[in-house]
C-alpha cells in the first residue's frame, strides 16, 4: 500500500489527480475501523493531516470558511457561539477521543445518512468547497448528498472546507439514540431560525438514503411564524410542522429502529426543537 503524506494542499490535489483511487484519510475515525477489520484494503492512503490550511478557519463576510480538517472538539470550543446548531451536533459525536480526531470533512467524505454534521449544515444552508487540479467549486449541502454513502464529488476532488453563515437566530439539534454517549443516530433533526430572511432551515438525518431538508415543513412554518410580534406557538402549528417533517423522510426498518418509529420520533423532535427555538427567539 502506498502512503502519501503531502505537506501542502496543492501537492495533495496533484496526488489525487494522479491517483484518483487513493483514499483520503483525515481523523481516521471511519477509515481506520474499515482497515482494522479488513473491510477495505485501499491501494493507497492520502493523509491530509499534515496540511496546515485544512485545520484553519476564518471569518468571511457574515459567516465562516471552516477547513475540512478542523476537529469536532475545536468546532465546539472555537466556533460554538457562532455556529450553535453545528456545535450541538458535534457534542453528540462519539466520545471525547473521537471528537478530538474526527472532522466534518470526514463526515462529508463518508456521507453516511446518519452523520451528525449533515442536519445542521443543511439547516444553515452551508456550502461545501471541493477542489481538484482543475479548479474549485462550491456545492450547496442540499446537493452534496447523492445516495447512501455517496456524495457529489469527482474522483480527483478533495474537500477543502465548508462555508456557513453565522447563526442569525436560534438553532437546535436533536438526536435519538439508545444512550447518551457514543451512539449512531436512529434519526436526527437540525433546525435554524433565520429572522433576517424570515425563513426556517431544516435537516433530517438518518431517515432517508441521504440527509435532506424538509422543504414543505420549511415553507409551512415560515408563513405561520409571526416574526414581528412573536407570541406562543399554537399546538396545531407545532403538530403540523412535525407531521410535515416526518413526511419528508423515507425511513427504513433496520437494526437501530423501524421506519414507523423513525417517523414518529422525527415529528416529536421537530415539534420540540421548533418550540425551544421559538421560545428563545421570543425571549430575545
Amino acid at each position: 500500500m502506498e502512503f502519501f503524506k503531502p505537506a501542502t494542499w496543492s501537492e495533495a490535489l496533484a496526488i489525487k489527480a494522479e491517483h484518483p483511487d487513493a483514499t483520503p484519510i483525515a481523523g481516521g475515525t471511519d477509515i481506520m475501523v474499515e482497515l482494522n477489520f479488513d473491510v477495505r484494503r485501499p491501494g493507497a492512503l492520502l493523509d491530509l493531516t499534515e496540511i496546515a490550511e485544512l485545520r484553519e478557519w476564518s471569518a468571511v463576510g457574515d459567516g465562516f470558511r471552516v477547513g475540512s480538517g478542523v476537529s469536532y472538539a475545536r468546532i465546539i470550543e472555537e466556533l460554538g457561539a457562532s455556529l450553535p446548531g453545528l456545535a450541538m451536533a458535534a457534542r453528540t459525536v462519539g466520545s471525547p477521543q473521537i471528537r478530538n480526531r474526527g472532522t466534518v470533512g470526514g463526515n462529508l467524505g463518508a456521507a453516511s445518512p446518519a452523520g451528525d454534521s449533515h442536519p445542521p449544515l443543511l439547516a444553515a444552508a452551508a456550502e461545501i468547497e471541493v477542489a481538484s487540479v482543475r479548479g474549485t467549486r462550491r456545492i450547496p449541502a442540499a446537493e452534496f448528498y447523492k445516495g447512501v454513502k455517496r456524495n457529489a464529488m469527482e474522483p480527483d476532488e478533495l474537500i477543502a472546507a465548508f462555508h456557513i453563515a453565522a447563526a442569525d437566530g436560534p438553532q437546535q439539534f436533536a438526536k435519538i439514540g439508545t444512550r447518551n454517549a457514543m451512539v449512531i443516530a436512529v434519526c436526527s433533526f437540525g433546525l435554524a431560525l433565520h429572522p433576517s430572511t424570515r425563513t426556517v432551515g431544516t435537516g433530517v438525518g438518518s431517515a432517508a438514503p441521504t440527509p435532506r431538508r424538509a422543504l414543505d415543513a420549511e415553507t409551512f412554518i415560515a408563513a405561520e411564524l409571526e416574526w414581528d410580534s412573536p407570541g406562543p406557538l399554537r399546538d396545531s402549528v407545532l403538530v403540523r410542522f412535525g407531521e410535515l417533517v416526518a413526511q419528508a423522510a423515507s425511513p427504513i426498518d433496520d437494526v437501530r429502529g423501524t421506519a414507523d418509529y423513525r417517523r414518529h420520533a422525527l415529528s416529536v423532535m421537530a415539534r420540540r426543537t421548533l418550540g425551544w427555538a421559538w421560545d428563545s427567539y421570543r425571549r430575545n
Binding site: 477521543q97 473521537i98 480526531r101
Partner: protein, 156 residues
C-alpha cells in the same frame, strides 16, 4: 516503511511498518509498549487512549503513517521513574482497577481532564470518561479515584 516518531520523550524508529496499521499495533507489537490495550479496534472502548501531540485519541484509529514525525505519550510515559503519576496512585488507592484492561485508557483520559480542569464536577468527569468502557468496576471506584486525584492536584 521505516517509522520515526517520539514516544514518551524518546525518538524511536520501527522498521517494516505497514503504513495502514494502527498506532496501537505499532506501540504494542513493534515498540514493546503493551500498556495501551486493544479491546475493540473500533474506537468504542477507549482502552487504547494515548496522547498524540498532546491530544487524547484512540490509538487504534490512527494510521501508523500519520504518526511519522509526531509525538506520542502512552500510559507508560506518565510515571516519573518509579513514582506513579497522581492519577495512577489514586486508581491504586481507591481500588479502581479490577481486571485492569480499561485502566491505561482511563488513566490517560483522566490525566487529560485534570490538565484542563483542576476541580471537575461529577457530570464533567462522566463526560470526559464517556469514551472509556469498563466491564468490571461499575465505575463508582473510578469516579472516587478521579475525585481523589483532582483533590490532591488542587491541594498541591
Amino acid at each position: 516503511m521505516r517509522l520515526r516518531c517520539k514516544v514518551n520523550g524518546e525518538a524511536l524508529e520501527a522498521d517494516d511498518v505497514w503504513p495502514g496499521e494502527s498506532l496501537l499495533y505499532v506501540l504494542r507489537e513493534r515498540l514493546g509498549l503493551p500498556g495501551s490495550k486493544n479491546a475493540c479496534e473500533q474506537g468504542e472502548c477507549g482502552s487504547c487512549t494515548v496522547y498524540l501531540d498532546g491530544v487524547p485519541v484512540c490509538s487504534c484509529l490512527v494510521a501508523a503513517g500519520q504518526v511519522e514525525g509526531h509525538e506520542v505519550t502512552t500510559v507508560e510515559g506518565l510515571a516519573d521513574g518509579d513514582r506513579l503519576d497522581p492519577v495512577q496512585q489514586a486508581f491504586v488507592e481507591k481500588g479502581a482497577v479490577q481486571c485492569g484492561f480499561c485502566t491505561p485508557g482511563l488513566i490517560v483520559a483522566t490525566h487529560d481532564l485534570l490538565e484542563r480542569r483542576c476541580q471537575p464536577s461529577d457530570p464533567e468527569i462522566r463526560e470526559a470518561l464517556a469514551g472509556n468502557l469498563c466491564r468490571c468496576t461499575g465505575y463508582e471506584k473510578i469516579l472516587d479515584a478521579v475525585r481523589l486525584a483532582a483533590d490532591r492536584k488542587a491541594a498541591s
